[in-house]
């Protein structure tokens, strides 16, 4: 068994909250996460996310 602690990630865990509750959920951390996601989306370019090998 691994004695080291789990790594704390920089992502909120949204897997445990039902979508019915998530619809109206507000909170500073969630707002920040949404703002960051939209900011990243704004600055992304189609193709940025792709890794490809060319012949």
């Amino acid at each position: 068994m691994d004695s080291r602690q789990d790594l704390l990630t920089h992502q909120m865990d949204l897997t445990g909250i039902p979508l019915s509750a998530l619809r109206d959920f507000r909170g500073p951390e969630l707002n920040d996460a949404i703002a960051l996601l939209l900011s990243n989306a704004r600055h992304s370019t189609p193709g940025d996310a792709i890794q490809e090998q060319r012949v």
Binding site: Q11, M12, R23, F25, G27, P28, R54
Partner: protein, 562 residues
């Protein structure tokens, strides 16, 4: 719920999962941890989209409520739909749209499309409007309805869904991508061969391109053979593919893309048709590494900053640091693959197998070494790179033939020098100092500072092509290098003659940049390989100021001696 109280904690990644990722291959439990991270991000994307478009499209809440109802009945189904690779692509596009400008219904309709798919599979009864993309309604994990072409664009259609059946209110042809299972060695790979979904190539929507029966049979045959190979010789890689690969996207014949993956499409690999099962297996091994690393960097930081370009020995263009880590990680797995596989391939494939092993091994080593002492890596990033180095060293205990090793060394040196020539720009003030020193007959004052720029990447390397031919097809090489060109001399190993010929080319045309690299390789002039852009710039400066061009070899030797 509102206010400061937040019941949503941070996701945790088991240390054992991170250690497994670093060590190479991960088990189903660790893959599930990465998948959970991706699912959480998809849910955040859904919520972000809802917040962004709620005021713009009236029926968005209807779609959300439908999806929530489906989740109440069948949470596993909703997760399966939301985690469909093309849903990730669509969500990313929709968010890009809403963040940039007025969102198009085609992109933001992803929410309705997901809800409809979940409603069908969970048995809900409803009506919902969904976008028509490329002449078809595509519900992820359900299938596609191709609408007859009317000559007019159709923006959306209303679906009536009852007991898992869908009525469109108009004629349409239904089809779905093929689900395929291959089993060998006690491992089963279950995946969808996706040739219909318009977002399957991770980019703007494209038309369906159904495989014909012959292509389908060929893919099935190669996949069977590749799976046999992987389960027999690379069982741990097979285990992680079984846990992580969900969708295989055949790319159209004639594409220049060998294989691809996307951080928006966890579990999906796109690839062109392969000639052999070994090639297919190698591509699967390579791409699943990207999938894992994409999921990892969504959770933890491996780098302290994202800005700045670096050199990657397998790419002609400058890369970001994360791009370099992607290459290191994927090619380390490829080196391990060939470490085992190169002695198992048929004789006709043997040369290429040994060549690929030697080339990739040297490329990854160069990349790993370039990060030694880097301050741009976090502690986790350093751990990640150190683990790749250890894995690589296990493959470095095997020697390769001297001639092959020499060819690979030349290929690496040429690639690096060409990259530096095209993408490094020396500081003009430093060039001026060097030119001054040269004209005074003083010793070289040192290296010029330089910065990385996005230069020309469409650079032909005929010398590399000859070197590669020498390694892969010696008979053809013997016939091809009978010519008295500088490249032919170099490839034959006549370095002195080649150096003279390259210097002659430079005197005839100082803009013949390939000749500068050739001179550096043939004369082993470190300055030309290390600072080719600076040597060229100093030569230009001295020529402009004196009207006399310095001999390239002498200038390079002067700078090398510094």
């Amino acid at each position: 719920m509102s206010g400061g109280w937040n019941p949503l904690g941070a996701l945790r990644l088991p240390t054992s999962a991170f250690d497994q990722i670093c060590a190479g291959y991960i088990d189903a439990e660790s893959m599930a941890a990465l998948r959970k991270g991706q699912y959480s991000i998809r849910r955040l994307m859904l919520k972000s989209l809802l917040e962004a478009v709620a005021g713009m499209h009236r029926d968005v809440e209807h779609a959300w409520n439908l999806l929530a109802d489906a989740e109440h009945i069948a949470p596993v189904v909703v997760e399966d739909v939301v985690m469909s690779p093309t849903v990730g692509v669509r969500l990313a596009r929709a968010l890009h749209d809403v963040a940039k400008s007025a969102p198009s219904r085609r992109e933001t309709g992803v929410l309705h499309t997901i809800a409809a798919a979940a409603a069908v599979r969970s048995g809900l009864k409803c009506t919902i409007c969904v976008p028509v993309v490329r002449g078809a309604v595509t519900l992820p994990t359900v299938g596609q309805w191709q609408l007859p072409s009317t000559g007019f664009p159709v923006g959306q259609v209303e679906l009536s869904i009852t007991d898992g059946e869908v009525a469109l209110g108009r004629a349409a042809t239904f089809r779905r991508a093929e689900d395929r299972k291959v089993s060998a060695g006690g491992q089963t790979l279950a995946l969808t061969v996706e040739d219909l979904d318009p977002y399957r190539e991770f980019t703007a929507p494209i038309a369906p391109a159904s495989l014909d029966p012959v292509e389908r049979e060929e893919w099935a045959k190669l996949l069977d053979e590749a799976w046999n190979l992987l389960t027999r010789w690379h069982p741990r890689c097979a285990e992680e593919l079984a846990a992580g690969l969900r969708t295989l996207i055949p790319l159209a014949a004639g594409t220049s893309v060998f294989a691809a993956s996307s951080s928006n499409a966890f579990g999906a690999i796109a690839m062109s048709a392969k000639a052999t099962a070994t090639q297919l297996a190698e591509a699967l091994v390579h791409e699943v590494q990207h999938s894992k690393l994409n999921a990892l960097v969504d959770l933890v930081d491996l780098t302290t900053e994202e800005t700045g370009w670096v050199y990657a020995p397998w790419r002609d263009d400058p890369r970001g640091l994360i791009g370099l880590l992607h290459g290191i990680y994927a090619f380390t797995a490829v080196v391990e693959f060939w470490h085992v596989q190169r002695d198992l391939v048929p004789p006709a494939e043997s040369r290429r197998a040994h060549f690929t092993f030697a080339l990739r091994r040297s490329q990854v080593r160069a990349a790993v070494d370039s990060l030694r002492g880097s301050t741009r890596l976090t502690d986790l990033g350093r751990e990640f790179v150190a683990a790749a180095s250890v894995r690589l060293s296990m493959c470095e205990t095997t020697s390769v033939e001297d001639e092959l090793a020499e060819t690979v060394a030349d290929l690496l040196a040429e690639h690096r020098a060409a990259w530096r020539l095209h993408h490094l720009r020396p500081e003009p003030a430093d060039v001026e100092k060097l030119a001054d020193a040269w004209m005074r007959g003083a010793s070289c004052p040192g290296r010029a500072r330089s910065q990385v720029v996005l230069g020309d990447t469409a650079v032909a390397r005929p010398r590399s092509a000859l070197l590669e031919m020498r390694a892969l097809a010696p008979d053809r090489f013997e016939r091809a290098v009978s010519l008295e060109s500088s490249d032919a001399m170099f490839a034959r190993g006549e370095r002195g003659h080649a150096a003279t010929a390259y210097a002659r080319r430079i005197q005839a045309d100082p803009r013949d940049l390939d000749a500068w690299i050739g001179l550096g390789l043939a004369s082993r002039a470190d300055a030309l390989l290390d600072q080719p852009a600076t040597v060229c710039a100093v030569r230009d400066r001295v020529t402009a100021r004196t009207g006399v061009a310095p001999a390239p070899g002498e200038l390079a030797a002067w700078m090398t001696a510094s």
